[in-house]
Amino acid sequence: MPEPTRPLVSGATLGAGRHGASQNNLADTVFGVLVWGSALAVTAGFLWLVGEIVVSGFGAISWEFLTSEPASSGRAGGISTILVATLGILGICLAVSIPLGLGTALFLSEFSQGENRMGRFVRASLDVLAGVPSIVFGLFGNAFFCVALGFGFSILSGGLTLACMVLPILIRSIELGLRAVPNDYRVAAAALDLSKSRMIVRVLLPAAAPGLIAGLLLGIGRATAETAALIFTSGYVDRMPESVFDSGRALSIHIYDLAMNVPGGEANAYGTALVLVGLLLVINFVATHLVERFVSGRIQSA
């Protein structure tokens, strides 16, 4: 079996026999080493990080760990309440941000013809929002949802704050997905006198599905990994939440707390980190898989 293509070798072969071949060889070698080096460095960093989490966290994982409540500030026991709170926060975040994001993205791509003033204004606001640090979102969420609206430290406040934070990325990627749909479909629908709503629901959204799911995944990833914005809004009570008005501790905050504030909490911190990474991987895998099946059923030849 031939080895996979190695730039270093082919570069050397190309340079050989030409004028100034040795200089070319040297330059190509240096260049090749740099390119390969950076790729290896990044991969190594990633592997080290994941490896560390898996090796140190695997021992903590058990069915028991996932289903029992934390005890002794999280040193002992499991993370059931944390999982419930995390899913609650994520659920509220998505329930609010998906419809709002989809609506705004549809406005930007289908209803603001050309570059009108409203469209430009919405885009500029989103760019500013996307650049706001998450700790500022946390303070805003605290002032607005917890205090002004009176939701207190609660899963609801946390979910709503995350929704604000996720919206800019979500809208941008949904809009890109919608714009990537060929104009042919819109024109064909108009020529058949299809209503805009039917065109959007039956033709545009299905055709844009891969882009929409990609945007959703980015949003979910961002929301699940968020810590700073949640400290001020959903709080870090680790009891089982009874409603969305109760405070609840998200996975990321649990990791932070165990690692920084609880001596002897490292083992469970690693276990929780492994659960968080695993959760993200599963969500990614399922969504990608769904999109592939959907796309092969609709768009490409079966």
Partner: protein, 288 residues
Amino acid sequence: MACGPVSSLREVRAEILELGCDTPGCTAQRLGPPPAGALLSVRDVSVRYGTKVALEAVDLDVYQDRVTALIGPSGCGKTSLLSCLNRMTDLVPGCTVSGSIRFDGRDVATEQDTGWLRRSVGMVFQRPNPFPLSIRDNIWLPLKEHGCKHSELAARTEEVLTQVGLWNEVKERLDQPALSLSGGQQQRLCIARALTLRPRLLLMDEPCSALDPLSTEVIERLILDLRGTVSIVIVTHNLAQARRVADDVVVFWNHDDSGCVIEAGEAEAVFANPRQPDTVAYLSGLRG
């Protein structure tokens, strides 16, 4: 230098090659009031994109149950004219249309009910553009939108797919994605989709330019079969195709960067006996 009416190819070739004849420009025939038999009458229509004039002062008539071919070199406004006829120009920002277009006794330009217009005037595009749905849903979508009863859906689907000669090819796999069909089949599906609304006039914008010769032949035969069921206006670059399918032809030409009509009439007459020097040159392959 003015060019008088020319009768033979040799004469015009001599004028163009040896004497350097000026183009006579848009010496289009100005037509009178719409004749009684015309399904569609276009008078003095100009199309602008922003400040650019794409088409200037076009007059033409389209008759019931005939195939009218719009021919001429690229960029002379054939597609622009086609898009005016069902107001697809509304979708193009900055596009303005002036003049009068009468279809079926109603004024297209001021028609409030563009839905009626687009249902009566179907359109098929240059690139086949079936929706990324199943073959069946491509036909059902417009039918359902326009109130076809559920019990009639299957029959209407078979009817239009048979009309375009696709029924036997796809009846076993109506649930497969439309995009799994070949290019020619996709284009016939698009024609079937346009026919679902039983239009009186079908606009076709170079329907074969993205297809191979065999698929092109199938579509051309289909056009001839449809003649008598629906009136057709077809834009084509392919002179041989116009000769094969058209009853009437309208010749467009480019003058000072904007398009205009230089000659129109029954296909046989125009091909056999072109009156304008530019038409002669274009049809003989000397220009355009």
